[in-house]
């Protein structure tokens, strides 16, 4: 039969990856015709709500973690635990298993993820005699030295809000650890908690001296790339997808380095690694082929191929490791990670995420507003998680 797939793969690389997947699947299953509907990346986030109930496809792309919860709770996603059992995905996709599980059941299959971390300018570090910082103190020292040399330590563009989430995730996971972070995003801890205050104490050490790119609220993350490329800024906390624009901007591997976010407190190091997933809508027409497709995508071979095109990491542990320097580094880092976060806006419910990131942005622009920001976040938390 026909297998209808709705994806948000509107960018060139994902688009190519999905075309490859479709082709491969059809080759393996000549009886199935795959039809891909590509949606605008941003528009997809709203349209999925509509087509899931009104006109469901057989497969949709989505995200792991809390982001998937509303659809699971509304009964719009199919329980695919059977696929997991049958294909033994519990072991193959182990790193993502927890983020795919709600109420003890699995609701989809992850097919790619990527690491977050600090990309830095090796050449500028070298010029200013800075070694790769290992802990918070060194990071502050490096920042101070860069600042003195007229280089902004951190590039960032917060217009789209979410880049602030990366900073909060990392600061919180390094200061309070993964469990606390998960409790917080699950609404179990007030934002006015002393431990959250400590996160902002650390953050203050960056914002107050002006270690972030000026006017960052005017920029999207890509707008800040030129500053990094031109050497006006020396570090950039980002997901691995940023490497492509860095390289396109003219940075060579000799100039561009990757490091793990440094240690702050003595807690196990967890990392952000957002995972992209596929699901079967509860009202899909062709669930049989859809299950076959899930199994197909879960396989190590397919994940290897797809991620080669995507320039990201396969979730399947048996997949071949990538050859790209930064991916390799990332893979190593994630393999040793204590745990993986999905990212603030996927771990926290949408409304909280929105308010949270807006608050972080406000704080980053006006550090003196920290108290109000946190009080406001606490208000929102109380409403959202009631």
């Amino acid at each position: 039969g026909t297998l209808v797939i709705n994806t948000d793969a509107s960018d060139p690389a994902p688009k190519a990856a999905w075309e490859a997947m479709a082709k491969g699947f059809m080759a393996a299953n000549p009886d199935v015709t795959v039809k891909i509907n590509t949606f605008d990346h941003e528009g997809f986030k709203t349209s999925i709500r509509n087509f899931l109930s009104a006109n469901p496809p057989d497969i949709v792309t989505w995200y792991a973690g809390n982001r998937m919860a509303p659809f699971v709770n509304a009964g719009l996603f199919e329980d695919v635990s059977d696929v997991w059992t049958k294909e033994n995905l519990g072991t193959q996709l182990k790193s993502a298993a927890s983020s795919m599980t709600i109420n003890g059941k699995q609701w989809g299959v992850p097919y790619t993820y990527y690491q977050w971390g600090i990309y830095y300018r090796k050449d500028i570090f070298a010029k200013n005699n800075i070694a790769v910082p290992k802990d918070w103190k060194e990071l502050l020292a490096a920042s101070a030295r860069l600042k003195a040399a007229g280089v902004t330590p951190f590039a960032i563009g917060t217009k789209a809000l979410w880049p602030t989430g990366g900073w909060f995730d990392y600061l919180n996971m390094r200061v309070n650890g993964y469990e606390f972070h998960m409790d917080l995003t699950a609404g179990k801890v007030p934002y006015t908690d002393r431990r959250v205050q400590e996160v902002f104490d650390r953050w203050d050490e960056l914002t107050k001296p002006g270690y972030f790119l000026a006017n960052h609220a005017s920029y999207d993350w890509q707008d800040a790339v030129p500053a990094f490329v031109k050497g006006e800024a020396a570090m950039y906390l980002m997901g691995n997808f940023a490497v492509d624009p860095f390289k396109k901007g003219g940075l060579s591997e000799a100039q561009l380095g990757f490091m793990q976010f440094p240690k702050i407190n003595n807690v196990p190091m967890a990392e952000d690694a957002p995972t992209d997933t596929i699901h079967i809508p509860a009202k899909a027409k062709n669930k049989a082929d859809a299950r076959r497709f899930l199994a197909y995508v879960a396989s190590a071979k397919v994940q290897t191929e797809v991620n080669a095109i995507l320039g990201q990491l396969p979730v399947n542990k048996d997949a071949t490791r990538p050859s790209d320097t930064y991916l390799k580094d990332g893979f190593t880092m994630l393999s040793n990670a204590y745990a993986l976060g999905q990212f603030y806006d996927r771990d926290a419910p949408a409304e909280m995420a929105k308010a949270g990131m807006e608050g972080f942005q406000r704080y980053m622009v006006k550090p003196e507003s920290r108290k109000e920001v946190l009080e406001r976040l606490e208000q929102v938390r109380q409403r959202v998680y009631k």
Binding site: S10, D11, N37, T38, F39, D40, H41, E42, G43, F44, T46, S47, N50, F51, S53, A54, N55, D220, Q222, D223, V225, P226
Partner: protein, 283 residues
Amino acid sequence: MFPTPIERCSPLTRGLYRAGLPLALIVWLLPILAVAMTSIRGAGDMAAGNYWGLPTEWQLLENYSAVFRDTPIARYIGNSLMVAIPTVIGAIALSCLAGFALGVYRFKANLAVFFLFVGGNFIPFQILMVPVRDLSLRLGLYDSIGALVLFHIAFQTGFCTFFMRNFIRDLPHELIEAARIEGASEWQIFWRVVLPLVRPALAALSVLIFTFIWNDYFWATVLIQGDHAMPVTGGLKSLNGQWVAQWHLVSAGSIIAALPPVAIFFLMQKQFIAGLTLGATKG
């Protein structure tokens, strides 16, 4: 300055005026000129930070063909046309009928119905957002051109009816009576007498509604999700997300999106302004 005609002013004032006019025009259009200029800039200029000066290389063809090649802008434009043209036809057809009814007949509810259309036309249409989205979903039209067309027809019918009614009511009533005496049925009066007479109004309205619809962004955002039905305004916005810092492409895209209404405006300027002000000044 008005009402003294400039010919009656001193030669000095006259000279100043003549010189000031193009200057004022350039300042006024500066943003648009900058975009136009940037749309033909080469990447070199962009890299060199030459964003506002004269372009050093002319990459008219390169930039525009890049836009068409690398983005679905042609598709967006097609979508916009597929939304705008049926909307214009539909809204005008409905409003001609309604405007005729309100402009020609005296009946009790006349003014009430008229105010319904006028008032509906003034509401902040955002209030319709959620229900219209639901309605489109229920009709199975959500995220399709049909959804946009139907909504636009309905909403524009308010304005068009307001406009047509005023126009038709200003026609000499004797014409209708004469036709009645000559033996025309009500439909024949509409079709053979009134419709030919409102042709200028139709032209004016069509042009105006076309630009309104072409430039609509809100409803495109609310009712359309995918590229397959996205009109050019919404498309431009999402392209802007991909084209960060590629201002020459953003500019070329903007110019492409702006061109159809500007062209129509230039071709049918008289109708456009007539439409705008007839509808308006009667308010």
